[in-house]
């Protein structure tokens, strides 16, 4: 459904992505793992055109797009078919929880306000926040903010949701709330690409795990392969560092 080919991106002289491929089928949950600085976040941001790639091709349902040359209209079209969940939430601080969800529906997609509100209520109900509709982000805890962020993403019924380290900015006791919601979404068949440090989540939920390092995909495949029996040294080293107790059961 979504295929990225030969993605390159540098910041000044720093080559962050050096030819990355990504292949996402409908219903896939793709977990992208790897050390910091590997280019995981940049990859995700390029897919949503929050960064403009230096080079790369995108095939979305067969439609080809040159990622470097994409026009404003192309970018808008892709963004309206996808959704993005940010590491630091980025809720609109001047909008309530409900308005945060309706904004993309009403303004972005021209859905009538009343209908948009119904959709938003359902989405917020799904993440367990139907009692916080009129709260402004400043009044919500980090975990609640991220749940609004997820509601904002699912409300627009996107073909794929991009999660950029959605639990990294959360206090440990709040992480499971958010991961639980993501699990539910995965079971319902939502197509998701998740940059994460939660190896447990990746091994439970992902249909495909991608290990990235130094701007390249080092290895990819089902979790039982990449996480339990990695073929590459670098993957093994990374996993050993991040899971000192190596008692990963897949």
């Amino acid at each position: 459904m979504l295929r990225i080919h030969g993605l390159h991106k540098s910041f000044h002289h720093n080559k962050v992505l050096r030819g990355v491929d990504l292949d996402v089928e409908k219903g896939d949950v793709v977990a992208i793992i790897g050390p910091s600085g590997a280019g995981k976040t940049t990859l995700l941001r390029c897919v949503n055109f929050l960064e403009r790639a230096d080079r790369g091709d995108m095939y979305f349902d067969g439609t080809h797009l040159d990622m470097h040359r994409a026009s404003t209209r192309d970018m808008l079209a892709i963004r309206r078919r996808t959704a993005f969940v940010f590491q630091n939430f980025n809720l609109f601080s001047n909008k309530t929880a409900l308005e945060n969800v309706t904004e993309g529906l009403i303004t972005g997609r021209g859905i009538p306000p009343r209908q948009a509100e119904d959709i938003a209520r359902r989405a917020l109900d799904k993440v367990g926040l139907s009692n916080r509709l009129d709260y402004y982000p400043a009044k919500l805890s980090g975990g609640q903010q991220q749940r609004v962020g997820i509601a904002r993403a699912i409300a627009v019924d996107p073909e794929v949701i991009l999660f950029d380290e959605p639990t990294s900015a959360l206090d440990p006791e709040l992480i499971e709330d958010v991961l639980g919601i993501m699990r539910t979404l995965a079971h319902e068949g939502t197509t998701m690409v998740v940059v994460t440090h939660e190896i447990g989540f990746a091994s439970d939920v992902a249909s495909q795990v991608i290990f990235m390092d130094e701007g390249l995909v080092v290895e990819s495949g089902p979790p039982r392969q990449v996480l339990a029996a990695p073929a590459e040294d670098r993957t093994r080293q990374f996993l050993r560092r991040i899971l000192p107790a190596t008692n990963l059961v897949v």
């Binding site: 630091n88 400043a138 009044k139």
Partner: protein, 237 residues
């Protein structure tokens, strides 16, 4: 010395008659300067090449020279310039019969636009980049993102400075008498010269400016409180 309170009160009422002129100039200036200043702030932020250099030169000049000189320069230039244009274009209007308040509006717009551009530029910079990204990722166009998310947030940040700029503008219009505008100050000045009663005359308009600026500040803080509800500090979850 004994203040002539009755005279003071009479001048107060008389000078109040100039308030519509003073406020009219302010409102007209602000409605021109706000959009212009915003455009200029965007030009400055996005470093549009030639335009950006010109814009910063203009802002530097308008903010770096006394308003009284700007008034005198414009007032000694504009009428004859406008006349030349009118004559050349064959328009049948007498430029010199034009209400001088128009010149005042032009000068104060020239000055205030530069001030507002600076205020809005720094206010826009306070808005987190993530807000724009989240808006784009939600499927809003850049224009929509600015109109619905970025500008409302920046405006709130800018409000205290906008209040300052408005008060400075109101105070600045007290120099409009230099262009023969009959505003609050001009009326008091004429009265003072007529009756040789300088102290009472100026005390009268001193009070008027206190009231006008006081009300302006109250309006701004009300608006700030209203718009700022979302900023209320997180009490407890």
């Amino acid at each position: 010395m004994g203040l002539d309170l009755e005279y003071l009160y009479r001048t107060f009422l008389l000078a109040l008659g100039g308030l519509p002129v003073t406020l009219g100039i302010c409102v007209a200036t602000l409605s021109l300067s706000l959009p212009l200043g915003f455009l200029l702030a965007l030009v400055g932020m996005y470093r549009v090449r030639v335009l950006g250099a010109l814009a910063s030169l203009y802002v530097s000049f308008a903010r770096g020279t006394p308003i009284v000189l700007q008034i005198l320069v414009v007032y000694s230039l504009l009428p004859s310039l406008a006349n030349a244009i009118a004559v050349n274009a064959g328009w049948n209007i007498d430029v010199f019969a034009l209400n001088p308040a128009w010149y005042a509006i032009i000068v104060f717009t020239f000055n205030t636009t530069a001030v507002l551009a600076e205020i809005m530029r720094s206010a826009l910079l306070t808005v987190d980049k993530g807000q724009l990204e989240a808006a784009l990722a939600s499927g809003l166009s850049v224009w929509q993102a600015y109109r619905r998310i970025i500008v409302p947030q920046a405006l709130l940040v800018a409000l205290p400075n906008l209040c300052n700029a408005t008060i400075n503008l109101i105070k600045g219009t007290s120099l409009a008498f230099l262009m023969a505008v009959r505003d609050v100050t001009a009326i008091a000045k004429i009265e003072a010269a007529r009756a040789y009663d300088y102290v009472e005359s100026y005390l009268a308009i001193f009070v008027i400016y206190l009231i006008v600026c006081g009300i302006t500040q109250m309006l701004f803080s009300t608006v700030e409180r209203r718009l700022g509800i979302y900023r209320a500090p997180a009490v407890s979850f």
